[in-house]
Symmetry: C2
Subunit: 208 residues, 2 copies
DNA sequence: CCGGGACCTGAGCGGGCGCTTAGCGAGCGT
DNA sequence: ACGCTCGCTAAGCGCCCGCTCAGGTCCCGG
């Protein structure tokens, strides 16, 4: 779970773990629809239609429309956290681990920007319990990045006056990639990852 | 329009330019509701209720619910652009102008985070014409920041390998403040502005 | 004291929403 | 060959949405 190929690519088909097939097709359709129009502007009829089913079919696999969002959000956050953890547990100094972490985290947010957009920006549509569960995952994400930065400061590699504030800014920067990234734009996910890794190293004062 | 007090504080009451009074109350109510729940999850009954009016009163001052969002978005973008222009036209070298620009831009996004959230994240709910108008304003915003960074590079003050990419990242970072800023959090808008100005100067390699 | 316009309300329309229910038909163990 | 189960659909329920409209209230010039 922390091997190199897991880290860099993850699973080829992002939703392979969702079964049966009809449930996965509905979930993929929901991701697309939520990303395009937002949760509240998406109708259950639209989701079912994209999956080639009647509106009622949705309720065989999911109790409510909100459960779809919850499942998407949970799986997406798990994936993002796994990517970050793999980088944080890797070899090398704080600078290299931070660089790898940002590069892979950003690459995921760019390549899977449809999913990431839903995961990162539709949180408020969740009910209190589901939202609390997701927020706990976000706190873990924050702790991982803060840990790397603290390591770098302790080792004298970084110069960071405000560790919590800088952590917040770094994560905000990476996550927001999902909002503006455009497949038809001039940059590949790899290029954005490399650019952002460089920018973040500058932010923490990793003089090289 | 580029004096110091205009730049730092703007108008005291943000929506003073909206008249008559009832129209302003409705608009303020809409900003709050859109920021809390999102455009699509907000009902016209909710907006009118917050403004202390009946649902029908809304349609005396605005043709549709979308016109409310359009007006909010337009005014907010104008204000954000004015803040940035004031900083870009200021005195001093590129580093100082970039610092002032980020500080005041971020301070606005933090202090007016309710408005900024609507302005920055509900764009997709607008119709094609309104959206095109707003996107033109965003391109101006981008051009202003890119201009300052280019000046710095040309003057040898900055070290920036990818000017458009860095501009995008800087703006993304500043704008995303509106998403996470919390009035009850540990940081004042001023403090966030100062932190971000420092981080951005590091991103452009403005050796101190 | 009256007439008129600006502003607002109560009631409600047409429609689309999330979700439910009754029942159909293909696949399969026996 | 049969009947059970599973996955699905057609139809539609009840609700609340954005929005409308006839009419009431109040202020103000004459």
């Amino acid at each position: 779970m922390s091997t190199a190929e897991e880290t860099s690519g993850g699973e080829m088909r992002p939703w392979a773990e969702v079964t049966p097939d009809a449930a996965r097709r509905l979930l993929v359709a929901a991701v697309e629809a939520f990303a395009e129009r937002g949760y509240h502007a998406t109708t259950t009829r639209d989701i079912a239609g994209r999956a080639g089913m009647s509106p009622a079919a949705l309720y065989i696999h999911y109790k409510t429309k909100e459960e779809l969002l919850h499942r998407i959000s949970r799986i997406g956050h798990d994936k993002a956290l796994a990517i970050l953890n793999a980088a944080a547990d890797g070899e090398g100094g704080a600078a290299e681990r931070l660089s790898v972490a940002v590069r892979s985290f950003v690459r995921w947010h760019a390549a899977q920007h449809t999913t990431a957009r839903v995961v990162q920006y539709e949180l408020e549509a969740l009910g209190p319990d589901a939202r609390a569960e997701i927020l706990a995952l976000r706190r873990q994400t924050d702790a991982v990045v803060r840990g790397i930065i603290q390591d770098g400061v302790a080792a004298g590699e970084f110069d960071v006056p405000d560790v919590p504030g800088t952590t917040l800014a770094v994560l905000s920067l990476c996550v927001d990639v999902a909002r503006w990234f455009n497949v038809n734009g001039p940059r590949t996910p790899d290029e954005v990852g490399a650019l952002y890794a460089d920018l973040v190293l500058r932010m923490v004062g990793a003089g090289k």
